[in-house]
Amino acid sequence: MSGDELAVGYEPMTQRALELAAAPAQAASDPTGSELLHRITRVAGALFDVPMVAVTVIAPDGHEVKSGMGLPSGEPLEPSGLHTATLAGEGTLAIADAAGDARFAHDPWVTGPSRVRFYAGHPLHSADGERIGTLSILDPQPRRVPSERLARLEDLALWTQEELGRAARTEALNYLRRSRSWLRTIMDSIAEAVVSFNDTGTIHFANAAAEAAFGAEQDGLLHQSIVTLIDGIEWEWVAARLGILAHADKTVIGERLELSGRRLDGELFPLEVVITEAQANGEAVFTAIGRDLTERNRAQAALRKSDNRFRAIFEGAGTGIAVTALDGRLLEVNPTFAEMLGYSIEELLKLHPARLIDDPKSRADYEPLLKSLLNSGRSRYRREVQLRRRDGSELWVAATVSALPGSEEGEVLGLVMVADISRRKEIERFKDEFVSVVGHELRTPLTSIRGSLGLIDAGMVGAISAEASQMIRVAISNTDRLVRLINDTLDTERMEAGRSELELTAVSGASLVQQSLAVVQATADAAEITVRCELADVHVWADADRIVQTLVNLLGNAIKFSPRGAEIQVVVRDDGKRADFVVSDHGRGIPPDQVENVFERFRQVDASDAREKGGTGLGLAIARGIVEQHGGRIWAESGPGAGTTFQFTLPLADQQTTLAPGDVLVVEDDVEAATALREALEGRYGPTRVAHSAEEAIAAIRQSPPRIIVLDLVLPGADGMAVIDDIRDDPVLAATPIIIYSGAELDSGERELAQLGHTVFLSKANSSPERVARRVAQLLGGPVSRT
């Protein structure tokens, strides 16, 4: 091969290479920089007029071509000795004809499809001097390149090196940027303010929460000093405590600090901070994690305010209030409570409150009552209790006990509120006494007056003038009226106090009407009133005296308000479920707006009626009381001029109830009370079962359903409500009549909860076991026999 063959004209190639190098860089948008490498390879190709140029780098499994020109594509590049030799050598390796060189004659590039003959390569170095690859020019034609020309290859290698380094830096920067952005995203999602600063106090990171807390825009905290964010603190102070200054203790690292934060606009706010320390690249990095306490403090202040308000209510309430533990111990009492009982608050907190309760039964009930209240779902109990003051005097209170959540999870306390009802009790006692005094003391002089008048009127003490006789009659009729008023008042009182007992028997409706007619016959005759009767053959379950009293009252009214010579009608009907008693007149009637009112006390349609008709204003109130006590209903129907119809219902007596032994179940934990009840009940109804707890009762009911239950609500463990709840879901058992016989006064809500089939509430204070026994027959709705 001659030198001429190998010689090349360089000028035009150089011109071409310069043009390529100056061409607008298409690489601006190429992040990997490969376009720039391609430009280098193109320049190299033009400069040396070679068809092949390669930029190779050392890859884990050989050499990788980073950029190539004219290289056969799709062919795996095998490790080339040319390449390895270039990397191993110093400076440019130039081989004019590789096929003729023993070192390279069998190199895959030489023997492969590229058929390389000419080769010149220069090693590439990284920034820190490591060899990382080669830049090589190749030609299937052997040639010789002058050494001053080959120096350009070194220039190009340096350029390539630069480009590779720049691409690597860009990639590293991108990675850093990405990971920064992740970190920022994570940090910004944290609710706490995170600020990190270096050992000069300069902030180099702040998350969104920190920016928000200090009122900064995005990145607005960067490069600020950490102490600008804290009020009243110098950097020296911080530095000393962070251990930045020599001989300083790291006293605040990891400690929870409450500081005054300062927003960029100067506003101060309460700030809680924990500062941690870490080392990064040999530098100390401090990270402060903080929380703006403004909201928390505001909530706490609101809570404190509301606490104070309730405390003030507690302290200032006119009602005595006590908070008790489950065992009844007083945990807290208000001044009114202490004052009512004549103790100091300190004394009360030391003594067991059962000692304050006067009545032994209530005292024994106190703890179980509290427990059952708290175990059951009921909201509260109300009862009237007699307490004893420190000086031994008695005090009546209405106590309301309700459950109060304690400070611990699941803890329950009792809230006891007591209102002094001594005055009311005194008035009640006075009223009771007054009523009984009226009964006797007023009647005694009236007996003398009535007697004297009667004797004068009868001429027993000599003849009197016609005028005198007329006056005596006026005196007699008004004395009689006064007596009726007294009787009716006593009657009403007795009924309201629940002291009016019924003697229930099966009695013929017709006979009740006939007995009543006999009483009013004279009055009717005097007014020339005829009474027409339609009396069905029906037996009612009633107290004959009381029903006669009711009928006499209704008949008396009908006669009074009928015109002379009119007819009144009495009907007794049996509608299969109950008996209806109807008394109608053709009198002046009652205005519709007053039909409901006529049963109220002292509600006469016309105020003058009382005088003209000699009524007391209590008759219909008593009639309603009696009918309702029988479980019946009474009402009036009327219109002005259309006459008036009074109607009431009574239970029928024809359903005879036969009780087997054990059909009556008593649930009562107090042994004495249970015995008294059993004795009273067994006298009438035969063998009676007794359960001493709710659990026993439920078992007894399951074993054999009772016909009637007498239930104390306050029981040890599960209370009486548990029994009711247990049988409420059973359609048959739920209809069981029940007498709630309890020491506790129930309010209307509790009564509703305790309602089963036919439910009667009797309080232990007002009802004897004997009375309970009588109510059993009433509840069973008819005469009772035993098997």
Binding site: R443, T444, T447, S448, G451, L455, T479, S500, D545
Partner: protein, 130 residues
Amino acid sequence: MTDRVLVVDDEDDIRAIARLSLERLGGWTVVTASSGDEAVELVMREAPFTVVLLDVMMPGSDGPATLERLRSGALDTGTPIVFLTAKVQPADRRRLEGLGAAGVIAKPFDPTLLSLQLREILDSGPGEIS
């Protein structure tokens, strides 16, 4: 021999009215006592009486207590006892009759009817309501 009635009442006025009423309108021979003790004494001393009209509410030995004394031992001659009472509730009436009274007459009574009421009770036999 006319029927003799012992009227027991702590009120002078009422004794006077009952005496006048029963003597003039009923033709009774009336003996009165102002207390239970006096009544017991009179029954011991002046028996027999046709009937004892006994007030219920009296200081000292009241109606029911007096009845019990008149019903015990040698004093118990079976003389019917009728209560005179200001308590007129059916329950009170039943209670008093349950004690063994022949009947109950309510106060205030009509003096023109008192003798009649007493006769009705005596005629209807023991324990029945007039």
